[in-house]
């Protein structure tokens, strides 16, 4: 007896996410007892474009896997090819890449903060964060010419140099961003009403997080100290930063991790600009890639794997991207069990899902 179960179709069209995902929410009252995710609404099949576009052109495709972590995708693909071809980019290229990578991490995290605020119905917080984010987009645009799609990656380096004075101009802006985020942090991390919506919502233990293969802030919020930037690719080896973790394991922990990562990223950007080497940005390449390699880099949402299988032809054999959201979905389905319908947006947002990344 008692309450019977209803099934609520959550998505694909649903304003909580700018992107489509479908979840069957099996509910009792407002309690979700089961959640079955379904993806594929933005599946384009771009991995197969390798048969139609040569390995250089694929950079543009890779960048458009996702508009939020666009830079990382371009970077990941390029780095894999570079590895296969044995190319070592110049220092300046490495530093600019790192800087842009961190800027896009910041924009991604701030975007996420806004979506999170929106998910628990805090509209003005959403507006505030997105207002701050515009500053970063301005920086990115000044540096690359695009607000979200940068088109600056190239196998062997960068397609375009970023003038030093432009980069110097970033420093005061960064301070403003950090200051703005500090104000929002007060609302996210210490407002009791917000805490009520975050604390204990969507708890994942450390063991589960590892077993389910979670990635990125989601994993770090469960207390696992794992950040692929520590692998030292690009210029991360030269940077001084720490891995942010939290032992909460819930939505609050994830907020905490992401907010503090913004600060870390800001500091990395600063370091990059300060230490920026002064030489060329491009090493010419010769021939076609031959071999296979998998690169793991730390995207805003966590580790992303880029696998390329090439056999010395103009068209590579296979490109495969495993994005962090893909890895986080099983854990999402798990956390959704037992939450309230009102928590669903929070939980869905909490993994910072990027469906276009996931489905490619």
């Amino acid at each position: 007896m008692a309450a019977k179960r209803s099934v609520i179709p959550f998505g694909p069209q649903h304003p909580v996410l700018p992107e489509p995902i479908h979840i069957d929410l099996v509910t009792e009252d407002e309690k979700v007892v089961e959640a079955i995710p379904s993806i594929g609404f933005v599946h384009r099949g771009l991995e197969q474009l390798v048969t139609k576009k040569d390995f250089g052109e694929m950079v543009y495709v890779a960048e458009r896997i996702c508009g939020i972590c666009s830079f990382g995708h371009g970077y990941g693909y390029v780095k894999t090819i570079e590895h296969i071809m044995g190319i070592e980019p110049t220092d300046r290229a490495r530093y600019i890449r790192t800087m842009l990578f961190e800027l896009s991490r910041m924009h991604s995290h701030i975007l996420w903060l806004g979506l999170m605020a929106d998910a628990f119905g805090f509209e003005s917080l959403f507006m505030e964060t997105w207002k701050i984010r515009e500053k970063i987009l301005d920086m990115l645009e000044a540096a690359t010419g695009g607000r979200v799609i940068f088109s600056i990656m190239r196998i062997g380096g960068l397609r375009k140099d970023v003038p030093d004075d432009v980069m110097k101009g970033f420093l005061p802006e960064l301070d403003k961003v950090v200051e703005g985020i500090k104000a929002c942090e007060a609302a996210f991390l210490s407002d009791p009403a917000v805490l009520g919506r975050l604390k204990g919502v969507g708890y994942i233990s450390k063991e589960d997080a590892i077993a389910l293969g979670c990635e990125g802030p989601f994993l770090r919020a469960s207390g696992v100290e794992h950040d692929n930037r520590m692998r030292g690719y690009a210029a991360y080896g030269d940077m001084d930063f720490k891995i942010i973790t939290s032992d909460e394991g819930d939505s609050y922990g994830r907020c905490y991790v992401r907010i503090h990562e913004i600060y870390e990223s800001a500091s990395i950007v600063r370091q990059c600009i300060e230490k920026m080497p002064q030489e060329g940005i491009y090493v010419p390449i010769k021939g076609f890639p031959n071999g296979e390699h998998m690169t793991v880099i730390e995207q805003p949402r966590g580790g992303a794997c880029y696998y390329v299988h090439a056999s010395g032809k103009k068209f590579i054999e296979r490109m495969r991207v495993r994005t962090p959201t893909f890895a986080n979905i099983p854990a999402l389905a798990k956390t959704l069990q037992g939450c309230d319908v009102a928590d669903v947006p929070i939980l869905v947002v909490t993994i910072d899902p990027c469906i276009s990344c996931t489905e490619r």
Partner: protein, 143 residues
């Protein structure tokens, strides 16, 4: 932990000027480096079709017969690949974006008269060269 601690930010915002750009009543915020749309300096283009081959979306058509260079801005993803690869540096990336429209317009660039002459000249020369080569070949064979 303080209650409703976003109040301060909100009240501050209330008495500040809004952060809103005035667009469309003011200018759009375009940076120097902004990738807006591709434009072709038809004085320099030689209709070599490199851009057409390089364009990832096939937004460019080069018609040598009609001596036009056509771009479909509604297919162009502003990747700047064509610009980078143009051997004559005739292409450039402008910062203004393409205006929205009700139909997917094409933009046809006619070769400038000067360039037409240049091309015609080139073609003539090429033809001459070919002829010369041919003749030279003939001579050889006849020798």
């Amino acid at each position: 932990m303080t209650f409703a601690n976003f109040t301060k930010t909100e009240l501050k915002n209330l008495f500040r000027k809004p952060a809103t750009d005035k667009y469309p009543n003011g200018p759009a915020s375009l940076k120097e480096s902004t990738r807006g749309h591709v434009s072709n300096n038809m004085d320099a283009c030689v209709l070599c079709s490199v851009c057409q081959m390089r364009c990832p979306t096939g937004a460019i058509t080069v018609d040598r017969k009609a001596q036009t260079w056509t771009i479909r801005p509604f297919s162009c993803i502003q990747c700047r690949r064509c610009v980078d690869n143009c051997p004559k540096k005739s292409l450039s990336m402008q910062k203004e974006y393409t205006e929205p429209d009700q139909i997917k317009k094409e933009q046809v660039f006619d070769l400038s008269d000067r360039q037409k002459e240049v091309l015609a000249e080139q073609a003539r020369q090429a033809a001459e060269r070919a002829k010369a080569a041919l003749e030279a070949g003939k001579k050889k064979s006849s020798e």
